[in-house]
Symmetry: none
Subunit: 192 residues, 4 copies
Amino acid sequence: MPKIVDHDQRRSTIASAAAEAIAADGIEAVTMKGIAERAGVTTGAVTHYFADKDAVLLEALLLVDASMQRRLDEALTRGHSPTDALLAALPHDAESRRDWCVWRVFSDRASRSDALRQQYRSSTEGWLRAASESLAGRSGRSVDQARLDAEVVVGTVDAIGDAASIDPDGWPVERQRRILDHLLARFEWCGP
Amino acid sequence: MPKIVDHDQRRSTIASAAAEAIAADGIEAVTMKGIAERAGVTTGAVTHYFADKDAVLLEALLLVDASMQRRLDEALTRGHSPTDALLAALPHDAESRRDWCVWRVFSDRASRSDALRQQYRSSTEGWLRAASESLAGRSGRSVDQARLDAEVVVGTVDAIGDAASIDPDGWPVERQRRILDHLLARFEWCGP
Amino acid sequence: MPKIVDHDQRRSTIASAAAEAIAADGIEAVTMKGIAERAGVTTGAVTHYFADKDAVLLEALLLVDASMQRRLDEALTRGHSPTDALLAALPHDAESRRDWCVWRVFSDRASRSDALRQQYRSSTEGWLRAASESLAGRSGRSVDQARLDAEVVVGTVDAIGDAASIDPDGWPVERQRRILDHLLARFEWCGP
Amino acid sequence: MPKIVDHDQRRSTIASAAAEAIAADGIEAVTMKGIAERAGVTTGAVTHYFADKDAVLLEALLLVDASMQRRLDEALTRGHSPTDALLAALPHDAESRRDWCVWRVFSDRASRSDALRQQYRSSTEGWLRAASESLAGRSGRSVDQARLDAEVVVGTVDAIGDAASIDPDGWPVERQRRILDHLLARFEWCGP
DNA sequence: TATGAATGAGCATTCATTCAT
DNA sequence: AATGAATGAATGCTCATTCAT
């Protein structure tokens, strides 16, 4: 009787360890051995669950992509204020910071991989749509009308997320909040 | 007397080749051999001008940082419309696209290096200040009052630059222009 | 379960190959590849068992140090005549010649390494003590009284070993024996 | 008109720098650049005066060989006591220590080079003859009769020189003197 | 399943040597 | 005579991958 293990669970554990390694050391310094150690397994186990290193990294990237999506969805569907909703999506704890760091790597890789670029487009388009809908709901405009506002809102959030994950000390939550408040004030109260 | 060469010129050539390699292949795939080949020299020549690989990459990063600064300054000081000025700073040709790709790597590295983070802060702060001054001039407000608007403008530009360098096909100049026009309209015509 | 190997045995095999390489080619010409080939493994295997080249060489040095000690102990504890005992410690076959050649390298390195110098001191002091005790036993003097005689005996043996390992043709065993006989005659029969 | 330089003087300067490099860093760490720097010239100058690295090292070895010979001759021809004469040949200052260190390298190389082994034999034979003559003179025996005594004396001196150059702290001049006094007492006063 | 020993290609780096000046 | 820029082969080392157990 083979040892009972949850295959998918195992893959997730390893991919998550890979994501942590990417965020902590940079993509160039990530090794199979390093991933295995972070996951508490041997290199043999890693190659047992993944075809090769690239497959591990891909899974880590998709994991983080999903994690960011989930964080945004949760923020939007809970009754937070718009600013609080966005703050929840931005880097504010170890896990969210890790996700933003890995997302940077994901998007950089997307510039050189057609498959990743598809994924990148669909993820960013999803955020844009969510933002458009949210903004449309608040201002009474159509989703199409809110689209350009959404581009600015999502763009600014993106830039804050990048900066805050790169330089956490330079980007305390108050700075993030001040900008978001200002941004949303502009787009909720100055609409056409 | 030894062969006469322009030492600084040589270093720039090599660092520039390194920047191209980073943008084309990703930081993980950059090799000394690859850099040397792009620069049209041997690996020995590269190590003759740089202490080690890290020194080459650092120079490439600083080169691109300066190049982006220069592009922004030129855009602002020439008589372009605000939108045209920002478009000139955004990815629109091979060189500007390369610079944005390398800038991403630079900022990612900054998250793990104190020295690079200093440089990152001073560069981003410079852009923010330039934008604040420009916006203040247009709207008649103080630089401090324009600061938050500048954060949004710079953030949006940043996000567009990232996206356009990652996915040039998804970000034709018209899309960039539409967002910038919208953005600037908001901030020039909907003042405090 | 992984392949079962005797870790220490493996290390010894490799270190021994390194010792052979040192003796055959000189320390400057020793390469990881050369060591691996002599040991019948790949370079990867060598670095699998040793942190780096220096660790391999250190192990080789210590291996030879122990080997010389063992040879001397065996010679002294078996019922040989004093001359035969010392001859057994001197270069007389491929292995003993190899050991003397490596010992030279070991002692040379000791001049630049505090750790090796400690080892060097304790090894040479051990030989000196063994010789003192042996001489004291033969002559009825105290160990302290025999100490200076021992310095001369050990020194002469050392010099013969060096010369005989450098120039085997110039130092046939008869030449070694003639000097040892003369030396021991002096110190056993001319006591105070 | 070419710059006037003393060709042989230049070669000696460089070879001497090479000898210093060997003693200080070990033969494995000696580089052309290192030699050039110690000599205060450029690598180009070194290759200008020597065919290749091996030629530089050979010259350094021969230089030191000659230097040791000279030191011994001076010691023997001046009116020192026998012990003082030998002490003058042994490591007692920076230069003599350097010479003994390089001599070790020379003799080690001799084990792998026919040409060097010739040189090694003739040098060691020269010392042996000098010692035989000196001992014969003191004891009134023939040179042939003194030969075996000389082997022991030269061997002991050799061993002291090695040890004292490897571990100067463990071999202060008093220790050297004590052994030499004892050694010479044996051979001058206990003769047949 | 899972281990970790073993492989060997690929890397950054060093360095003797060459050569235009 | 002398420089030092440039070369490129060779080295130690890393690491993804394979595989016997």
